[in-house]
């Protein structure tokens, strides 16, 4: 028996021994020390233990702000604004800061779907040869960058379809409408630039210029200028919109008007002002009756009169934008608001309206594709007119309204995606040939608006590629060479850098810029050092609006699709925008107006919600004639009772662990209605709201704010 016990004992001891061994292994030097790998070859501009800073361009939106990225031992540590860059003067927005969460995102595409890059390049070359040039289309991001130039060259000389640039941000900004309105009012197309900083009074008709509009940093700086001018009084800011945006939240006066009546209100103010000034209405404003407008817009006539009296003796800068343009009458609204500026006669003057300057190597204005042009593309795909689609820098399945049927149309085409991130579109691609992240890439980009100087912003890799990715420009050049013939001759470049040097060649020796260099090598070195090349001549285009006041402006009524009881106002999430959902820290940033993190909400006026029996965090279904989405209720005190609003930016079905299956996409509710400029009437829907379920404890929205402290919810009402 004792033998048995001792055997048992032995077994126990053996187990103990194994455990001890395991513990002791953990006690080795490894528990205290870390391994460190030195550089193979120390880059000459790197110093041990010192940070190296690289200038490049932010690619989180199309604005083109300059960045300086701090790198340390080959890792990108922090993005900071490039103080020399005229567009952002050393500042960045939240999305620029979070770029690194895209670069080092755990869910990036790690290599080509073809296994090897040679096979990938061959596949592209095969596509070039296999299809007729007219059957090949390129769809690219909004940024007017070197790749767009490269593809444009390729398309031009081979007869492919001209590349389209598209982004949801451009759709929400209604760039086509702004451009068309400029053309109609000034006789010259272009992206208007509003000099908020030097203005005295700003009337913004729906323009969310402090959020993601056109050039957020430039406009924010302008706003700061409006507010704290040393030489003049604090500028006043009035916002007309149906739902208080983050921009409207900064307004001195926020005027909730019915969606689609922005143009009428602008004209009515114009009429009142011109009547006060000269006793008679100018022809431009003759079509409107202020009393009737006030009624239609849902405000008091007195408010209009008050605004008019504010207008009379000062220069007012009127800005159209945001949801106001996303109406079926968006173009008329834009024209009406631009015309209102004529009363201040501020065109081309400080604090007034300009057309944006053309970038240094830009020949003419070019704007991103409007949704109707995208519609044409989808139709071509459906009909088989396009057989191969190359997508870069855009996620059309997510960013295009579902109703356009892009996803279904993909069945008819071979999709080549150059996405760095496994987004919805990339998941459908036959070939996924990932581009570098923007911080690993070469390039340049034209700054479309926001700065008086023509700016060509430069990009360079700040870190070596983390994964097995390849620059799309290199892939296209290599594929064109492999395809031979006209393709090879269209892109006769060694690589991407060679192409870029070729493109900026016209600037070499140009003495009007921020620097001048006599040879390409020096130019490129400085170009990278300073983060771009800026012409030192203010080149804003002064519009001619002499006739504006004497042409009657059309007053078309907006039409709303669907028979719901609420106007639907979608807006772009200022922190996430169209492509920020994959970055965990952007998800965790509170929305500026609602302070919600990580999710999608629908804003409803509290009084209306009470009527409908809705409370905070209730789950509701929002239905338009195009579709329906589900979201949490947010009782928003600053929204018209007849309106509901939703942020755009969430609702991904792919796009990495932080974005996937999170929130809802309001674009699913958009119908295929367009304004006269071809922009989508995204705010032209009427929706129904139905409650799905009650708020669950801890199951609602993540808010930074306190429901108790900010709204008094759960405090037990008034104090005794």
């Amino acid at each position: 028996m004792s033998e048995q016990v001792s055997r048992r004992d032995f077994l126990k001891l053996a187990g103990l021994g194994a455990a001890t061994t395991a513990i002791l292994t953990g006690c080795g030097p490894a528990s205290r020390y870390v391994k460190r790998e030195p550089y193979q070859q120390m880059p000459e501009y790197n110093l041990v233990g010192q940070s190296t800073y690289y200038a490049t361009t932010c690619r989180e939106c199309a604005a083109g702000c300059g960045l300086v990225v701090r790198t340390y031992q080959g890792r990108a540590i922090k993005t900071e604004g490039n103080a020399h860059h005229p567009l952002n003067l050393g500042k960045t927005c939240a999305r620029g800061q979070a770029t690194l969460h895209g670069l080092y995102n755990p869910d990036r595409v790690q290599g080509p779907s073809t296994g090897s890059w040679d096979a990938g390049i061959q596949a592209v070359a095969d596509a070039f040869k296999k299809y007729k040039p007219s059957e090949i289309a390129f769809l690219m991001g909004m940024t007017p960058d070197h790749l767009y130039d490269l593809v444009s060259d390729l398309a031009q000389s081979t007869g492919m379809n001209a590349p389209l640039r598209y982004g949801a941000l451009g759709m929400f900004e209604s760039r086509a409408t702004l451009s068309k309105a400029a053309e109609n009012v000034f006789g010259q197309a272009g992206l208007p630039w509003f000099d908020v900083g030097k203005a005295q009074i700003v009337f913004s008709f729906g323009a969310n210029f402090l959020e993601t509009w056109l050039s957020p940093l430039a406009y924010t700086r302008g706003f700061a200028g409006l507010r704290e001018k040393e030489t003049k009084l604090r500028g006043t800011f009035v916002q007309f919109e149906s739902r208080m945006s983050a921009t409207g939240a900064k307004a001195d006066k926020w005027i909730p008007i019915r969606p689609g009546t922005e143009g009428l209100v602008a004209l009515a103010i114009g009429r009142l002002v011109s009547e006060i000034r000269s006793g008679a209405a100018l022809p431009a404003f003759a079509n409107v009756d202020p009393a009737q407008v006030a009624d239609e817009a849902g405000i008091k006539l007195a408010t209009l009169e008050e605004l008019a009296s504010m207008f009379v003796n000062s220069n007012v800068l009127a800005i159209p934008g945001g949801a106001a343009l996303g109406q079926t009458n968006g173009l008329e609204i834009a024209e009406a608001v631009l015309t209102l500026n004529a009363l201040s006669n501020n065109f081309g003057k400080p604090g007034g309206v300009y057309l944006s300057a053309l970038a240094p190597n830009q020949e003419g204005t070019s704007r991103p594709a409007s949704p109707i042009e995208m519609y044409d593309l989808v139709e071509k795909m459906k009909s088989g007119a396009i057989k191969a689609l190359f997508v870069h820098g855009v996620n059309p399945i997510f960013e295009l309204p579902k109703t356009l049927g892009f996803e279904a149309a993909l069945a008819n085409v071979e999709l080549y995606s150059f996405a760095t991130f496994p987004d919805e579109t990339a998941a459908k691609a036959k070939y996924l040939l990932p581009d570098h992240h923007s911080l690993e890439s070469w390039g340049y980009q034209r700054v479309a608006t926001g700065v008086a100087l023509p700016v060509l912003s430069g990009s360079q890799p700040v870190v070596s590629p983390y994964y097995d990715t390849r620059a799309t420009a290199d892939v296209l050049i290599a594929a064109a060479q492999a395809a031979g013939g006209k393709f090879a001759s269209a892109l006769p470049y060694k690589d991407e850098v060679d192409f870029i040097q070729n493109k900026v060649a016209s600037l070499v020796g140009d003495a009007s810029g921020s620097f001048s260099a006599s040879d390409t090598a020096t130019f490129m070195a400085r170009f990278q050092q300073y983060g771009g090349w800026f012409r030192n001549v203010e080149s804003l285009i002064v519009p001619d609006a002499s006739k504006a006041l004497y042409n009657p402006v059309k007053t078309t009524k907006p039409s709303f699709a669907g028979n719901g009881e609420f106007f639907f106002v979608p807006f772009v999430s200022p922190t996430l925008a169209e492509a920020g959902a994959n970055k965990p820290w952007l998800q965790e940033l509170p929305d500026p107006t609602t302070t919600v993190m990580w999710n999608t909400w629908v804003e409803i006026n509290p009084d209306m919600a009470k009527e409908l029996g809705l409370a905070n965090d209730d789950r509701v279904r929002i239905t338009s004639e195009a579709g329906s989405v589900e979201a949490f209720v947010y009782l928003y005190p600053a929204i018209r009772p007849d309106t509901v609003a939703m942020p755009f930016g969430q609702g991904h079905t792919a796009y990495g662990r932080y974005a996937e299956n999170r929130g809802a996409n309001p674009a699913d509710l958009f119908g295929a209605y367009y304004n006269d400029a071809g922009d989508l009437a995204f705010a032209g829907m009427k929706v129904k709201i139905e409650k799905i379920s009650h708020a669950v404890k801890n199951g609602g929205l993540s808010r930074m704010e306190s429901l108790m402290g900010v709204y008094g919810e759960g405090l037990g009402g008034e104090e005794h």
Binding site: R75, I77, K78, E80, G81, N88, K91, T92, C93, A94, R95, G96, Q97, A98, L100, H101, Y104, N105, L210, E211, T220, R221, F223, A224, R227, E228, R234, M244, A246, A249, K250, I255, P256, Y466, P574, T575, P584, W585, Q587, E588, L589, P590, P592, T595, M597, W598, N605, D607, P637, A638, R640, P641, N698, G700, S702, R703, M704, E705, V710, Y711
Partner: protein, 241 residues
């Protein structure tokens, strides 16, 4: 045994480093929040925890509502971070001396490695700006590549808070010293001030009257938040106008 000279109250009142925040131009865009998170290796905590008040933001932007629709308006956004109080209520209550007053920089220090996690400091902070590492928040690889080597990565169970980017202060002082000069005004700034698109945040030496931040602080229009508590905060707020 050392008998350091007792520091005079006036030093705590002015402080050394100070900040001004112009709420009139603050648009609430969250750039400062993101910049702070990126600079200071702040963890993100996910939807559930952030919704339950466990977010780790060192700076948050507060806003309230005034009035009823349609005359409703949002009160000026108020970025709220550690006020680096001269008479800090957080410091004396820590039993382990994990949060102490820096004599050299006149800042509230949080010494992470000394923190045992009683959370008394956070409880006693009238500004509620301290963030606690409720869990071991992980950054999935390769996100950790982005960590700033100048800032300690905090682990579970310790308190943290805005440091006025003390690593930048040290770096600037080190550079200045190696060049044999004083730190110049505007030579460096905190991550939040650096990012702020509207230049609403200004940072610098408040004890030197010629600096920008001192001039703004001393223009008489600013207010200190909860100054009635006698905490001697070193952040000055400017409301509207």
């Amino acid at each position: 045994m050392i008998r350091p000279d007792e520091v005079k109250m006036s030093v705590e009142e002015t402080g050394k480093w100070g900040m001004t925040i112009n709420q009139d131009v603050c648009t609430g865009c969250q750039a400062c929040v993101a910049a702070c998170a990126m600079e200071n290796n702040i963890s993100f905590v996910g939807e559930e925890d952030s919704g339950y008040g466990r977010s780790m933001h060192w700076i948050r932007i507060e806003r309230f509502w005034e009035g009823e629709y349609p005359d409703v308006r949002m009160t000026p956004q108020q970025p709220m971070m550690c006020q680096q109080c001269g008479h800090a209520t957080c410091e004396p209550v820590c039993p382990a001396f994990a949060t102490v007053h820096s004599q050299a920089e006149q800042l509230n220090l949080q010494v992470y490695n000394r923190c045992v996690g009683t959370r008394y400091c956070a409880n006693n902070c009238p500004y509620q700006v301290r963030a606690f590492n409720w869990r071991d928040y992980q950054r999935p690889e390769p996100l950790s590549n982005q960590l700033n080597p100048d800032v300690t990565v905090r682990r579970m169970g310790v308190m943290e808070k805005c440091t006025f980017c003390i690593q930048r202060i040290h770096r600037a002082q080190d550079t200045a010293k190696s060049e044999g000069r004083e730190v110049m005004d505007g030579e460096f700034t905190t991550a939040c001030a650096q990012a702020c698109p509207a230049d609403a945040i200004v940072f610098g030496r408040v004890d030197k009257p010629e600096t920008l931040v001192a001039q703004i602080t001393n223009n008489g229009r600013g207010t200190k938040h909860l100054a009635e508590l006698g905490t001697l905060p070193h952040v000055t707020y400017f409301k509207e106008g």
